[in-house]
């Protein structure tokens, strides 16, 4: 017979009283019993309610004293999930700490350093950051990660959500959705789950403005036009399309396309419509894709191929490829002669069984799609949204950067290596006169690839990752940053041969940082570089720092362009393959993804802020401007930003 909650509650109260009465220096002796009984309550029905009933006393009693959770104002929302996933004590104390925050947020407790609003903001941010725990996705069950505690975490979050003002949370969620959709990622799973969460949390009492904002996203997923809204069932929708007059079809097309263009999200009905139009009225496709004149010209030029591709790859399950198709046409990629045959080849490609299996896993089961359809749809997406390629949960930023770069500037090459990998299970690169075959290599940065990736990445990353690693290990002992040689060989001749790095990779010493900064200005800043424009993306290395400016590691991104933002300030626009281009890097350096002149998928920072996080870049040695002319106060301010953030982990000489 299980012990009754009452007994445990009593024991918890006794332990808390004992702790409360204990002298300050001996709290740790009594904390153990509180944690033990709390742990039992966490696992019980209504246990969190009982714990929360005492949450206003936790701090005063000394529950957190002398431990990492002691100061409520120093707690970090991004660390909450990690603690909850950890087993044992961290989980228990984290739960108690979050309940303390809730008590402050509800005005039941006061804290000298954390106001009601701050506590509320903290919890809202925790919620938004942990949607995956709050709404776990069944398809993720295959994850290797042991998530035994996620049930407890989920229970906690559900409890918090009942108590939090859903208004604030919905607002935060919508901001988050705005921010993520602005980047137009190919993989939209996270966005979808956020929209669904927000939908569950809104009710008639929600802010009408939020409701309207959210409605836009919900409709984009579920049916943005009157007809698609009316006929949720795709077969009914399809039957009804057949009854429509041309004009009605146009307005239906326009409204679906408008939703897609504003959100980057595609409704399943859209796929039905496109397939229908492609067969019956291909002339209306331009409305359904909302093409500009260049896109329309490209469509007309390649009408047969486009129809063929729609037939082979546009299905409700691959509906996001419609957005990719529209952008691909507008980018004019099909006018590039190797592209049409390259795409046609994918339709009948003999895909290897293991690749086929991975591709099939990428879409939900029961859709009846072939691996070829999935791969073709994925290729269209990559060609249409080169900046939407993400590395997912893998440390493979280099591979993602490569796919993105080739999709922009070498689609023929990309269409060459996709079949090599999918059909032959091998990709070969020449490096300094020697061929490197991926099939001969093991290891890489991600030997166990996390498969939540777009189809093209799914096929290519395992190969590219190993090749890149192999190239890096071949140059490891040369006494200089290996990217100097590897980047041009790996990404292609678009990468400039000049290379400069902020620190010596052997000693870790930062040497002549001022010179490094000036050279970057002289080769990249339009005021100093004699107006040479950046033509191809520049693969550069940056120091990733957290919100406190503490170094987290090195990361690969690409500078896409350097231009003045609407306010006239020079910014560096860049592609960040990490799926979330606007993290806070500390020192109030926060890349933006919209409203500063960014194109879809770009992040940006003011030029000097970006420079302060840069550690290596390529440049054209024949296109240098006037390094000496760079203002010393600019250099000095960058030097200070660098030295007080990542610079603390390096020796400066």
């Amino acid at each position: 017979m299980p012990q009754s909650t009452g007994v445990i509650v009593e024991r918890f109260e006794k332990a808390l009283d004992d702790l409360d009465q204990a002298a300050s220096f001996v709290k740790s002796k009594y904390q153990t019993d509180v944690y033990q009984e709390a742990n039992r309550l966490i696992e019980m029905e209504n246990g969190l309610e009982h714990l929360f009933g005492h949450a206003d006393r936790f701090e005063q009693a000394g529950v957190f004293q002398d431990g990492p959770w002691e100061s409520a104002d120093k707690l970090q929302p991004p660390l909450v999930a990690g603690s909850l996933r950890a087993k044992g004590l961290p989980m228990i104390i984290e739960v108690l700490s979050d309940l303390r925050m809730l008590a402050i947020a509800e005005g039941k407790a006061t804290n000298p350093t954390v106001s009601k609003e701050m506590a509320e903001d903290f919890l809202n941010e925790v919620m938004v950051l942990n949607l995956d725990i709050l709404f776990p996705d069944a398809s993720e069950s295959s994850r290797v990660e042991d998530n035994e505690n996620s049930e407890k975490a989920q229970k906690l979050f559900e409890f918090l959500i009942q108590h939090l003002s859903s208004k604030a949370l919905v607002k935060t969620l919508i901001e988050e959705i705005d921010r993520l959709t602005a980047q137009r990622p190919i993989m939209i799973k996270r966005i979808v789950s956020m929209i669904q969460t927000a939908k569950k949390m809104t009710d008639s009492e929600s802010d009408p403005e939020d409701q309207a904002a959210l409605q836009k996203y919900i409709a984009a997923l579920e049916g943005p036009s009157p007809l698609s809204h009316k006929y949720k069932e795709l077969s009914e929708y399809r039957a009804n399309l057949k009854e429509l007059e041309r004009n009605d079809l146009i307005s239906e097309s326009v409204s679906l396309a408008k939703s897609m263009r504003t959100t980057g999200l595609v409704a399943p009905h859209h796929a039905t419509l496109i397939r229908f139009l492609s067969k019956r009225m291909p002339g209306l496709l331009t409305y359904a894709l909302a093409l500009n004149s260049k896109g329309l010209a490209n469509l007309e030029e390649n009408e047969e191929l486009v129809q063929q591709m729609i037939k082979a790859s546009i299905f409700p399950a691959t509906r996001q490829a419609i957005y990719g198709l529209a952008l691909m046409l507008e980018r004019g990629v099909l006018s590039h002669s190797p592209v049409p045959p390259g795409l046609r080849r994918l339709v009948e490609l003999d895909i290897r069984p293991e690749v086929r299996k991975n591709l099939n896993k990428a879409v939900q089961t029961g859709e009846g799609l072939t691996a070829n359809s999935i791969l073709l749809a994925g290729t269209i997406q990559v060609l249409g949204q080169p900046l939407g390629v993400g590395q997912g949960f893998n440390p493979t930023c280099q591979a993602a950067r490569g796919i993105s770069l080739w999709a922009q500037h070498a689609p023929g090459f990309l269409l060459e290596i996709i079949p090599r990998a999918a059909r032959d299970g091998d990709i070969d690169f020449m490096f300094e006169g020697q061929a490197i075959h991926s099939e001969n290599l093991t290891g890489g940065l991600a030997p166990n690839l996390h498969t939540e990736l777009d189809p093209v990445s799914l096929v290519l990353v395992p190969h590219l990752d190993r090749i890149y690693s192999e190239m890096m290990s071949r140059v490891a002992l040369r006494g200089d940053d290996g990217h100097r040689w590897v980047n041009p060989a790996f990404y292609g001749n678009w990468v400039q041969k000049g290379f400069n790095s902020a620190f010596d990779p052997l000693t870790g010493y930062v040497m002549d940082y001022q010179g490094f900064v000036k050279l970057f200005y002289a080769t990249h800043h339009p005021d100093f570089n004699d107006d040479y424009e950046l033509i191809y993306p520049n693969p550069v290395g940056i120091f990733i720092t957290n919100v406190h400016g503490k170094l987290l590691g090195l990361h690969a991104i690409s500078i896409t362009r350097i231009a003045q933002d609407p306010s006239g300030e020079y910014r560096v626009y860049f592609y960040n393959p990490n799926n979330d281009g606007s993290q806070n890097w500390g020192q109030s350096i926060e890349p933006s993804v919209q409203e500063n002149g960014e194109e879809e998928g770009e992040s940006s920072l003011p030029f000097h802020e970006f420079t302060s996080r840069l550690y290596a870049f390529h440049y054209n040695p024949y296109e240098q401007g006037d390094a000496y002319a760079v203002d010393s106060h600019i250099v000095q301010s960058i030097y200070e930003l660098a030295k007080e953030s990542w610079g603390r982990d390096y020796t400066w000489v």
Binding site: P2, A23, S24, F25, S28, K29, Y35, K87, M91, E148
Partner: protein, 422 residues
């Protein structure tokens, strides 16, 4: 350590402080939150002498503190006495094994009785301790000090020769342990010559002794003015894993004999104040063999068990008995009758039985057992299990309390086999 500075300060203060400081301070030698808590509760002025790493904690919580490295013995050691004297300390109470001679040295100075220090040294050398006991006519096993591996080989052979073992017989084990470590730290049972090779050369000198059969138990005796004021018997279910307080009736029957033996020990060692924690073996025919004795807070949560069973704080008892100024009336009022216990209090110290642990599983039937009180096991951070040192670094403890010693023994035995870690 700013010794020079301290010297200047203390010499100045010494002149100011009168020799009969009142109220005087008690120095707790070692770091124990339980002891600090009790001293604070007793409203007794005290200062803690502990390893310097606790200084910031003490400062944060306003605990009077003197940082001291107990491993460093040199001519500067005198500074500790000077400093404490200047603060007005008159009593030093040892909490750990390594602090016993420091407290002894301090008390020798405070009381102006040099021999107090020598007595404390006796308690810190297991070879001297045995010899002293033997001289006093206390029954001990055969023992010798070993300075190298050959000594151990010879001792093993001689003991087994004496037992009339011949070539091919299974040898009787001997035990070796460091002369000055707490409890079971560094203890090894040796059965074959090969095992001797595994001993580290740095471990010498060691004490060797013959194996004693019989039931092992410990006694916690609170001594004041050379007289046993209270005596608890702790029954070991398995040394280092489980024990309970008070002992079961079969052992309690022998209590008069045990009390007599302990008083004999106290007399022989000329122990005047404080707590001692001797270990004995008792053979089925009732013969008592003395194992060893320590003069500090015992391990195995025994003080906590005494408090649970008898209702008085053993830390408080230790402080009272360590102070020559405590009166007999105070002590009589403080200690209950040894037969006046509320029940049996036992504990099981848990250590994973595997090298790598993933998770903790405490069975429901344990938590629901009427004797179960609490435990302090938490799911560990996944990982490799550290090797046990002595019996100190257990992962956690399960506490029981109940009316029947048989059930207690049964429970402790049952769950000692259980692996709480998966």
């Amino acid at each position: 350590m700013e010794l020079d500075q301290m010297e200047v300060n203390s010499s100045v203060e010494q002149e100011v402080t009168s020799p009969e400081t009142k109220p005087y301070l008690t120095a707790l030698i070692g770091w124990s939150l339980q002891a600090i808590e009790v001293a604070a509760r007793m409203e007794r002025p005290f200062v803690v002498v502990g390893p310097p790493e606790f200084e910031s904690y003490a400062e944060k919580h306003e605990i009077g503190f003197v940082g001291w490295d107990f491993n460093k013995l040199n001519e500067g050691s005198d500074q500790l006495y000077k400093k404490l004297k200047a603060l007005g300390v008159e009593v030093a109470i040892p909490l750990y094994e390594e602090c016993v001679e420091w407290a002894g040295a301090l008390n020798a100075r405070f009381r102006n009785e040099p021999r107090v220090f020598n007595r404390s040294l006796l308690l810190r050398d297991k070879g001297m301790m045995k010899r002293k006991a033997q001289i006093a006519g206390i029954k001990v096993g055969v023992f010798e000090e070993a300075h190298n591996k050959e000594d151990i080989v010879r001792f093993l052979r001689r003991v087994n020769d004496a037992l009339l073992k011949i070539e091919g017989d299974v040898m009787d084990p001997i035990h070796v342990k460091p002369l000055d470590k707490a409890g079971s730290v560094g203890h090894m049972a040796i059965r074959t010559v090969d095992e001797i090779e595994e001993i580290d050369d740095n471990a010498f000198p060691l004490l060797m002794e013959s194996h004693l059969d019989g039931q092992e138990f410990s006694v916690e005796a609170f001594i004041h003015k050379g007289k046993v004021q209270f005596l608890n018997i702790t029954e070991y279910v398995r040394l280092g894993y489980s024990n309970f307080v008070p002992a079961s009736p079969s052992l309690m029957e022998k209590r008069p004999q045990i009390v007599e033996a302990v008083q004999q020990l106290v007399d022989a060692f000329e122990i005047e104040y404080g707590v001692i924690h001797p270990e004995y073996f008792i053979t089925p025919n009732g013969t008592l063999h003395f194992g060893e004795v320590a003069a500090r807070v015992p391990g195995g949560h025994i003080f906590e068990l005494i408090e649970r069973a008898y209702g008085f704080s053993a830390y408080e008892a230790q402080i009272l008995c360590s102070d020559p100024k405590t009166t007999q009336e105070e002590l009589d009022e403080f200690f209950p009758s040894p037969y006046d216990y509320k029940g049996y209090a036992g504990c099981l110290m848990v250590h994973p039985q595997k090298d790598y642990v993933n998770d903790l599983e405490v069975p429901d039937e344990l938590e629901q057992h009427g004797y179960f009180e609490k435990h302090d096991l938490f799911t560990p951070a996944q990982g490799k299990v550290a090797q046990r040192i002595g019996f100190g670094n257990h992962y956690g403890t399960i506490f029981f309390f109940g009316e029947e010693s048989d059930e207690m023994r049964h429970l402790l035995k049952e769950y000692e086999e259980y692996d709480f870690y998966v």
